[in-house]
């Protein structure tokens, strides 16, 4: 029980638990039994109070979950007046049933594992390798791990406070806020403040990431379990984000790398329908292409990621209705090989051809199946000379994947240059998830995906179909998993910010083509149609458009042309 005091980590600065303890029971009288509790019939040593408070809090959090009560219903307790004793025994029973508990907490993401019909081992297999060493009992850890966290940005704190909707948002102190003053000293029960657990949750996530970076896997393992508990006490977006990140961390810790890549197209379709990010991407890119093709009679678009081809109907319709009539439109769609060997590209091409025929646009389609964009070059794509046909290259969320293998991106940018395009449209996530330091990457990803999930939740009120929202969350969850759990060539979600892409494109010989006001107007109107109140924001950033949620930009569309002098 006195581990907390023995553990050297917590002696340097007040651990969270003892800070709470001190605040609640300032009138401690040292080694004897606490008088107030004794009146109620509980015998607790005053020196153990902080510990007991912590344990009661944990217990309450567990009770909040669906099967918390059922797990405990079989336990028998002797000597109920020994408060600390039976709380401890209940908790140790829970720890034994920990794996069961964790798997219910992460049930949102079970889709991730079983979607492919692949019921492999659950996300938290029994830790045969890592013993649950009592030295790392949870009551000791948060204090030490958090206090080492000198770098925890105030921004994170504020962001959390905003999300948790606290009225203490201007509190810049790194330690979590105190228990709400509503609980008076007379009542010995610890109230679980979800604001506080929210902040605890974030701190624990970061502490776990640090532990993973330091290869301290026992500590990380213990923290991941704690995250599961804390996440259970949360509601809404925060719970889901925490769950996905916890699962990703667990995968990293246990080296469990089976990534289910099935149905990624379906998931992206649901993402397309529930939130405006992809629609924004398509509409703004189309506007840039439309403006670049003004006056041309033969045009060719190369799409680096055709998927379901949802971008092209709108462009074809705009070309059909342009003054002077439509040009001859050629589309080259590129995609990865399919597991079931169907020719998905041809099917999409056929649909687009039907549409083209209906609206009166001369249409030609070609599909290319490649493992990586780096395998392409201008010759394969049958690029016709500049005088005959103008080319546009379009990439929505495709370029960042090339950063996983060194040299790929340069090769691709070079082959784009050889195609002599009139315009290159690039849409990418606005975040730096490609840093070399794991903890920095983790922090960035936590910010980014929290905002994403918030926006899904914010606009969720207007969704008629909550299944769509759930599928979008799985789509994002896969990205989270990739950013956190994978390394090397497997880690393909290597997002970079607009300024990083600008530098890259500039170095490769491209110059920025400004997106006009038409694109901005159309984008603003599109966003006005979506729910979420005024949550979605379009920003113009030196010729590029960024879509974000409140103050945080999330995706960026940019357009490029060959720099003068590149012949």
């Amino acid at each position: 029980m006195k581990r907390e005091r023995e553990n050297g980590q917590s002696s340097s600065s007040p651990s969270m638990a003892s800070a709470k303890g001190k605040k609640m029971w300032e009138e401690d009288n040292g080694g004897g039994m606490d008088e107030l509790l004794a009146v109620l019939g509980y015998k607790v040593k005053a020196s153990d109070m902080a510990d007991v408070a912590q344990k009661l809090e944990q217990l309450e959090m567990v009770m909040d979950q669906e099967d918390g009560i059922s797990l405990l219903s079989d336990s028998v307790h002797f000597n109920p007046s020994d408060l600390s004793g039976w709380v401890q025994s209940m908790l140790s029973e829970l720890n034994a049933g920990q794996t069961q508990l964790s798997s219910t907490v992460v049930d949102d993401s079970s889709l991730l594992i079983s979607a492919g019909g692949n019921n492999s081992s659950p996300c938290f297999p029994q830790p045969r390798i890592f013993e649950d060493n009592s030295e790392y009992d949870l009551s000791a850890i948060p204090g030490g791990a958090i206090c080492k966290q000198k770098q925890s940005p105030v921004l994170l704190q504020n962001q959390n406070n905003k999300r948790i909707k606290t009225n203490r948002s201007d509190d810049p102190v790194l330690l979590p806020p105190e228990i709400c003053p509503g609980s008076t000293a007379a009542r010995p029960v610890v109230l679980v403040d979800s604001q506080e657990t929210g902040v605890q949750l974030v701190h624990t996530l970061i502490a776990c990431a640090e532990a993973v970076q330091q290869e301290n896997l026992k500590l990380a393992d213990a923290l991941v379990k704690h995250i599961g508990l804390l996440a259970g006490a949360q509601a809404g977006a925060m719970r889901k984000v925490a769950t996905y990140f916890a699962e990703a961390l667990a995968r990293r810790i246990y080296n469990f790398h089976l990534q289910d890549l099935n149905y990624s197209d379906v998931l992206q379709m649901h993402f397309y329908e529930t939130c405006p990010y992809l629609k924004f991407a398509h509409f703004t890119a189309n506007q840039a292409i439309l403006e670049a093709f003004e006056g041309e009679t033969r045009v060719h678009v190369v799409d680096f990621g055709l998927k379901q081809g949802m971008q092209w109907p709108a462009l074809m319709q705009a070309l059909a209705l342009r003054p002077g009539g439509p040009p001859k439109f050629r589309l080259t769609g590129i995609g990865p090989p399919q597991e079931d060997n169907t020719d998905a590209l041809q099917e999409v091409g056929w649909k687009l051809a039907q549409l083209a025929e209906a609206i009166g646009v001369e249409f030609e389609f070609r599909g290319f199946v490649v493992n990586s964009l780096a395998d392409l070059n201008a010759e394969i794509l049958d690029i016709r000379p500049r005088e005959v046909e103008k080319v546009a290259v379009n990439s929505v969320f495709e370029l960042h994947q090339l950063l996983a293998r060194p040299g790929s991106i340069d090769k691709v940018l070079d082959s784009i240059k050889r195609m002599r395009p009139k315009i290159v449209t690039v849409v990418e996530q606005e975040a730096n998830h490609n840093g070399s330091v794991f903890v920095d990457r983790f922090n960035e990803a936590l910010h980014y995906y929290s905002t994403m999930f918030d926006s899904l939740e914010g606009s969720g009120l207007t969704q008629a179909n909550s299944q769509d929202v759930a599928m979008s969350e799985v789509y994002l969850g896969r990205q989270i998993c990739n950013v956190v759990a994978c390394e090397g060539a497997d880690r393909v979600e290597r997002h970079e910010t607009l300024s990083q892409w600008r530098a890259r494109m500039g170095a490769a010989g491209f110059e920025s083509a400004h997106l006009g006001s038409n694109a901005f107007k159309q984008a603003s109107m599109l966003l006005a149609l979506f729910g979420g109140g005024d949550g979605y924001r379009v920003e113009e950033n030196d010729g590029c458009l960024m879509l974000g949620w409140h103050t945080r930009p999330l995706i960026a569309t940019s357009a490029w042309q060959l720099a003068a002098g590149e012949s």
């Binding site: 209705l321 009539g325 999409v348 549409l355 609206i359 207007t462 008629a464 109107m525």
Partner: protein, 167 residues
Amino acid sequence: MVQLVKLRKGDKRSKFCINDNMDILIEILKRLDSRSIAAAACVCHLWLSVARSNWLWENLCFRHVSPPPPPGVRPVVEALGGYRRLYTACLRPVLTRLSRRKRLRPGSGAGGDAEAARRVWRRHEVELSISLFCVDYYERLGGGGGGVRAGGASASSLMFLCEPVNV
């Protein structure tokens, strides 16, 4: 002429039948809003055929658009499913939502659905609606193409325009 003469002779029984005067019927229906047109369509087969006609809905869609859309629009819209579908699936929800947004901002007047139909639309709003309409058509093409869609090939790219159902 004969009918009018009869009326002037003091014949109390009105022999004027609107169904004999299609042009007046058309002029009246042209000025109604979508709900009234839908109600009118339930009267009889003749009214139904008038109320379903494409040009009536085209008129409804672009009645207040300034400047009027270019002539190339008609064949495209008709190919994508017709003006009635354009109106009900895209234009009306788009305009209601946009005008509701404007209403929420300070300084704008109150109004209902009818106001959405009456305000002057701009080119951009029309273009956006037609684009969304086109995406909707493409989704409905489905049928043996377009990869795996869970739960049937129902087009739902316009789902975000639907009003939430309050359960």
